[in-house]
Amino acid sequence: MQYTRTVEALKQGTVIDHIPAGQGVNILRLFKLAETGERITVGLNLSSRHMGAKDIIKVENVALTEEQANELALFAPKATVNVIDNFEVVKKHKLELPESIEGIFACPNSNCISHAEPVKSFFSVRAQAKDIKMKCKYCEKVFSKDIVAVVR
């Protein structure tokens, strides 16, 4: 059987692979990748030997920072992030949970002061047993990551 590439190789940029199927679109929105104006290739529900189905994102000419890669860990802890230069992988980010995350997610507590004021949201992040807990710096409420890390 003839093998065909479903996604074209990237000359320069970032490949985010092994994203759990369904999270690819969230990640595009989280990092506002479409707004970069760069050429982006997105694969959804591709078959994966390890994951069954996965999503993949390739962005040309954008190198994801360490900090962004760690924020990604909240959605897709097993994703791989490779920075490509001239068709070569020049950096493989190892995803680690960030200690804190600023300005991305709104606090789920509707009575939290952060909603109506000129401040960025801020959560400290902590792994606890099988869950990831996020604590709002302002209202001090602790939430499970699935409640906070939602792209609205």
């Binding site: 507590n109 009575n111 939290c112 002061i113 952060s114 109506a116 004021e117 000129p118 401040v119 606890q128 709002c136 710096k137 302002y138 209202c139 001090e140 409420k141 602790v142």
Partner: protein, 306 residues
């Protein structure tokens, strides 16, 4: 060397070290024994109550004036520019340019922390929504030390609404620094939140969930009562639990002689009036101690040494 609370914001109990809590408690004791009228001389404190409060506001204002300081402020956010849509950030920038410290209460959680980021002077949290009320915890700690002679290794029962009671949460966190042992006596619907129990588990601190008040009376040094609010239940449910978490004088026969009953007040019917006359009742003295604890805090925040 300046005391560790000098020019610090006072926002939340978990921000305090054990030594800082002890410093406030000791200073409150000194000021109760030897009142001072000079520690805030020449200082102006902004008292900003965006939400009405009686005890907290009056005891702060009493504390400032007894120490020789002056007060500016408001008792109700309805008459301020917050009503016109000004952000809290802007209000605090301006108020902090007038005063030497800002005491504030606000209906939204996190308000004091946010204010501290925009204030040029120390902010003292007098309650932010359902989140923190650190000066209540400080006066509770002072009262416990006053009645027991120590904060170490005490046994404390918290009774009533442990789910929504912010005073209970902060006091539990504070006492866990001193090796306390806890009994939590509450209806299932108002049980201590998981996050507090998890914190205690992580620190290896012993606590027991109990559903009968009688069982714990002989075991404890402090019985901390709180109000179970009728509006949290439907009528039938309330009838079922009503009475289960009420303390009466005749129940106190088995209590230790050193045992004191505390309550953040206002009480409704969870402590019957006949308890007031027993040597165990201490809630009114506790409310009075609010002035000393707040005096201690203001003095430490506004003076390098006290």
């Amino acid at each position: 060397m300046a005391n560790p609370l000098y020019r610090k914001h006072i926002i939340s109990i978990p921000d305090f070290s054990r030594e800082e809590l002890e410093l406030v408690v000791e200073t409150a004791g000194k000021l109760k024994r030897n009142p001072r009228n000079d520690l805030l001389q020449g200082k102006l404190v902004g008292s900003c109550f965006f939400e009405p409060s009686t005890r907290t506001r009056l005891s702060f204002e009493t504390a400032v004036q007894r120490l020789g300081g002056d007060i500016i402020g408001f008792a109700d956010g309805g008459n301020t520019s917050a009503k016109k849509g000004e952000t809290l950030a802007d209000s605090i920038k301006i108020i902090s340019s007038y005063a030497d410290a800002v005491v504030m209460r606000h209906p939204k959680e996190g308000a004091a922390r946010l204010a501290s980021e925009f204030s040029s002077v120390p902010v003292i949290n007098g309650g932010d929504g359902s989140n923190q009320h650190p000066t209540q915890t400080l006066l509770d700690l002072f009262t416990i030390r006053e009645t027991q002679g120590t904060l170490e290794n005490l046994t404390i029962a918290f009774v009533g609404d442990l789910k929504y009671g912010r005073t209970v949460h902060s006091l539990t966190q504070a006492l866990s620094l001193f090796g306390a042992r806890f009994y939590f006596v509450a209806p299932e619907q108002l049980a201590m939140p998981d996050y507090i129990c998890e914190e205690l588990d992580e620190k290896g601190i012993e606590y027991t969930l109990v559903d009968s008040l009688d069982d714990v009376i002989p075991l404890v040094d402090i019985m901390y009562m709180t109000r179970v609010q009728r509006e949290r239940f439907d009528e039938a449910e309330f009838k079922k639990i009503q009475g289960q978490f009420v303390l009466r004088a005749d129940m106190l026969k088995s209590a230790r002689t050193n045992m004191k009953v505390m309550h953040p007040l206002p009480r409704v019917d969870e402590i019957t009036v006949d308890v007031d006359a027993t040597p165990h009742a201490y809630y009114f003295e506790q409310a009075k101690n609010g002035v000393y604890a707040r005096q201690a805090l203001l003095s430490l925040v506004l003076n390098e040494t006290v």
